[in-house]
């Protein structure tokens, strides 16, 4: 009788890629719920569109590459890409925005480079940047947080807006985005940036209704919800604290110093931390294992770089938020970071 041959180790910790990915999108749930609360049901429509597109795109790409299609669907990486992109774009953006972005992310950014584990860039963020530079208007038209909105948008209106551009009553998105003062509503970072550029002081800029809450209505709570999900991921050892920690330090330390020297003309560190895509970026986007540095030291450096780039672009760059650009730029530096942060192997003069 012969017995089965296998290579050691014979024991495995059963946490598969699929489980890791599942944890990631489950940890996004609090953020998605809060986002829905403030920005309406459009978030769900975008999620549904993104997931459908990702599923089709993944299958198509695998088919074209002559690989087993089921394999790709099983690892759940496409789901994470789809969810991240869907919650990064404005909830009422037209349907073709999310479809195009997701398809690009999966087919070009992921599969053209060789599929899971081979892509150089974070697929969701590359998709986001493609959309942002191609369709800046649609990509920056965030709906007004529900508590400030003049008109409440029903579910059927949401669907109608996303697919046809008008509510059933005939309002378009721009009309819905008018605040009480008749001015189009911008996101907190956007509004602040414009006002600061127009030589308003920080105090004046913060007098707008959107800042009634401590760091921008809706946005602060969305960020806190993502922070919560992120802490769960750290607790579950799905991600290590190095990248989010590095990113927050890299963003907040320079931001605090700049603000201390420039209290009237700088975004406050709290706004940096709790507005825009800060927490989503720190815990869910920059932590994408495929495109981030791999050693703990490398992750720390990578995180610091992402954070610092976010600060630089938000402060002096052409875009109000910068997480996507910062992550993509940092992705490019990963090979170098990995090279210079290689730990000293045992017996090569390191200290214990």
């Amino acid at each position: 009788m012969t017995f089965k041959i296998a290579a050691s180790p014979h024991a495995h910790q059963r946490r598969t890629t699929q489980q890791v990915m599942r944890w990631v999108y489950l940890a996004l749930i609090p953020g998605v719920l809060v986002q829905t609360y403030f920005f309406g049901f459009g978030v769900y429509v975008q999620l549904a569109l993104a997931l459908l597109t990702a599923w089709v795109a993944e299958g198509l790409a695998m088919r074209l590459r002559g690989r087993p299609v089921a394999h790709a669907w099983q690892d759940h990486t496409a789901i994470v890409t789809a969810v991240l992109l869907a919650i990064s774009i404005p909830a009422l953006a037209p349907w073709w925005i999310i479809v195009m972005g997701t398809a690009f992310a999966i087919i070009v950014v992921k599969h053209v480079y060789g599929g899971v584990g081979q892509n150089l860039f974070n697929p969701a963020m590359a998709g986001y940047v493609l959309l942002l530079i191609s369709f800046p208007v649609q990509m920056t038209s965030w709906p007004i947080p529900n508590e400030l909105a003049q008109l409440q948008v029903s579910i059927s209106d949401t669907v109608s807006l996303i697919f046809s551009g008008f509510t059933q009553a005939g309002y378009n998105l721009e009309q819905l985005r008018m605040g009480a003062d008749g001015i189009t509503m911008a996101t907190p970072l956007d509004s602040l940036r414009n006002d600061l550029n127009h030589q308003l002081t920080l105090g004046e800029a913060l007098s707008k209704p959107i800042f009634d809450d401590f760091a921008g209505i809706g946005w602060a709570w969305v960020n806190i919800a993502f922070l919560l999900g992120g802490l769960v991921l750290i607790k579950q050892k799905i991600i290590s604290w190095h990248i989010p920690g590095g990113m927050l330090v890299g963003l907040l330390v320079p931001a605090a110093i700049y603000w201390l020297f420039n209290p009237d003309q700088a975004i406050t560190p709290m706004l940096h931390a709790l507005s825009g895509a800060t927490m989503l970026g720190a815990f869910f986007i920059a932590t994408d294992p495929v495109t981030a540095a791999t050693s703990n030291k490398g992750r720390w450096v990578f995180g610091l770089l992402v954070g610092f780039l976010v600060f630089v672009i938000r402060t002096w760059g052409g875009y109000p938020d910068a997480v996507a650009f910062a992550v993509l730029l940092a992705n490019m530096t990963v090979p170098v970071i990995d090279k210079y942060t290689q730990p000293i192997a045992y017996g090569h003069g390191g200290r214990s």
Partner: protein, 532 residues
């Protein structure tokens, strides 16, 4: 005393990076005392059960042997003898499958037991301190003792290295899941292990020994605590539960904060390490004269009815051992020699228990699910987080797949201790260690080929040189001969003999005259033609 030494003396426990906490599952086998195993019918003794060359045969087919009788003797190149595990007849000497991952065959002596289990007379030693160090080493060598922890390095050879030693470390960590052979041995034979440690200290010329036990073995710890008062040279160190704390390099880091230099030995940092089983065997060999013919083997896993620890004679076929323990194989059963992290599977159960066999594990597919399909690496870095050697396993994996040997060297492939922690945590179930082993084998092959090519090149160049030399010598010989000839001629001319040169000159003159005559004749003819 330096601060670091003070900390070691004070019992400070350092840490090492990485490591994992797989389910221990030791309770399966550590509940009962070590039981003897009934005699088997046939024993298979591979000549080589240690690292080094096999010993030289002393017996032939048909010989009657008694338990403890040496079947081979120390040969060249680290050879160690093997001894008959019981009395009986040698029925075969030839190739047989050995306990090695490759499943390759090697020379094996088969003994058919007569069932009487007669032993040779032992020569106990009353006071080893009266014996010279060299004689003690000889005794240990003659007893066939190799490291029983797993690598099987000849113990005497390790002790023979003469360099100043700070500590002897006795390794009773046994961090691999499932295995409890050392644990039971420590619980039941602590005094003998201590005696062995004292002997090892005496031989190594070392002042102090540290006995390391993992914190999950409270009974073993208690067994030593009760005895150590009388042995001021020995100190107990309890290390936290983490795999692979029992790895030689990791344990050194834990107990002393020192690192063995890459491609170096523990002795380079003033340390030498022996397994508790080895210390036990040394005590038996020195104090009682018993050669190494049996060891404790853990038999465990859900597919065996009587898991536990057994005194198993070396050479016992695994099939027999498992049969005695109520083995119920399932389809696609894996039989692992060693633990779940570093052990290797056996394809054939006629393989015998040898000096390095500490465990036979027969898991059900529920408890240790077979590996699944390898998926793509997602660069999650979990492997790097757990690597105790601070390597980057995923980089090594890419490089190994790309056969980039320079890159592998830069990433210190050969510092990998193959503990398997990386593959254990890999979410993509990439058999990382397997790739490293393959790459290491390839690198070694390349080095071997290179060495061979180098030898061939040297041989070729030597031949070219010889041919050239011979040619020069030949030319020189010809030149000398020509000179001698000329000289002889000149001498002959001087003595009035014929000068061959004169003959040449005469011949040339004759030829010239003939040519001139021919030319004149031709002119004459031409003239006559014109006239006509």
């Amino acid at each position: 005393m330096s601060a670091a030494t003070k900390a070691i003396e004070a019992g400070h426990i350092w840490t090492f990076p990485g490591g994992i906490h797989p389910p221990e599952r030791k309770e399966l086998s550590n509940q009962t005392s070590i039981a003897p195993l009934p005699l088997a019918k046939d024993y298979y003794l591979p000549l080589k059960q240690h690292s080094g060359a096999p010993g030289e045969l002393l017996v032939q087919v048909g010989d009657q042997v008694k338990a403890g009788q040496a079947l081979t003797q120390i040969g060249a190149n680290n050879g160690l003898p093997v001894h008959a595990p019981t009395s009986g007849t040698i029925t075969a000497i030839g190739p047989g499958i050995i306990a090695h991952p490759s499943g390759l065959a090697d020379t094996v002596i088969t003994i058919t037991a007569d069932g009487n289990d007669e032993h040779i007379a032992l020569e106990p030693l009353a006071d080893y301190t009266q014996i010279s160090r060299a004689d003690l080493l000889e005794r240990i060598k003659d007893a066939g003792i190799a490291g029983l922890g797993g690598a099987g390095f000849p113990t005497a050879q390790k002790l023979a290295l003469q360099r100043p030693l700070d500590y002897l470390i006795i390794n009773g960590v046994e961090c691999e899941p499932y295995i409890s052979a050392d644990d039971r041995l420590m619980r039941e034979h602590a005094q003998t292990i201590i005696d062995g440690t004292e002997i090892l200290l005496h031989i190594a010329g070392c002042k102090k020994a540290l006995i390391a036990i993992e914190a999950n073995k409270p009974e073993a710890i208690a067994a030593f605590e009760g005895l150590l008062d009388k042995h001021p040279q020995l100190a107990l160190r309890v290390v936290p539960v983490k795999y692979p704390s029992g790895g030689e390099k990791q344990l050194i880091q834990l107990l002393t904060g020192r690192q063995v230099p890459s491609r170096g030995l523990p002795i380079d940092v003033g340390l030498v390490m022996q397994n508790v089983g080895t210390a036990f065997a040394v005590a038996q060999a020195v104090l009682q004269g018993k050669p190494l013919i049996e060891r404790v083997v853990t038999v465990t896993g859900e597919n065996v009815e009587k898991p536990g620890n057994y005194w198993v004679r070396l050479g016992t076929p695994v099939a027999y051992l498992l049969e005695q323990c109520g083995f119920k194989p399932e389809p696609d059963q894996r039989v692992i020699m060693g633990g779940p992290m570093m052990g290797f599977t056996l394809a054939d159960l006629s393989v015998p228990v040898v000096k390095i066999t500490n465990c036979i594990l027969v898991p059900s597919s529920q408890e240790l699910a077979p590996a699944q399909d390898e998926m793509a690496c997602i660069r999650c870095g979990a492997c790097a987080d757990v690597c105790p050697a601070q390597l980057l396993p995923q980089q090594l994996q890419w490089l190994a797949k790309a056969k980039d040997y320079d890159g592998l060297d830069q990433q210190n492939l050969f510092d990998c201790i193959e503990c398997g922690a990386c593959a254990y945590v890999c979410p993509s179930e990439i058999p990382l260690v397997h790739y490293y082993r393959k790459a290491k084998a390839e690198v070694r092959n390349i080095a071997r080929e290179k060495a061979k090519a180098e030898v061939a090149r040297e041989r070729f160049e030597a031949r070219q040189e010889r041919l050239e030399r011979e040619k020069q010598e030949r030319l020189e010989r010809h030149r000398k001969a020509a000179e001698a000839r000329k000289k002889a001629q000149a001498e002959a001319v001087a003595q009035g003999g014929d000068n061959p040169q004169d003959a040449v000159q005469a011949a040339i003159a004759r030829a010239k005259a003939r040519k001139a005559a021919q030319a004149a004749a031709a002119q004459q003819q031409n003239k006559e033609g014109d006239d006509a």
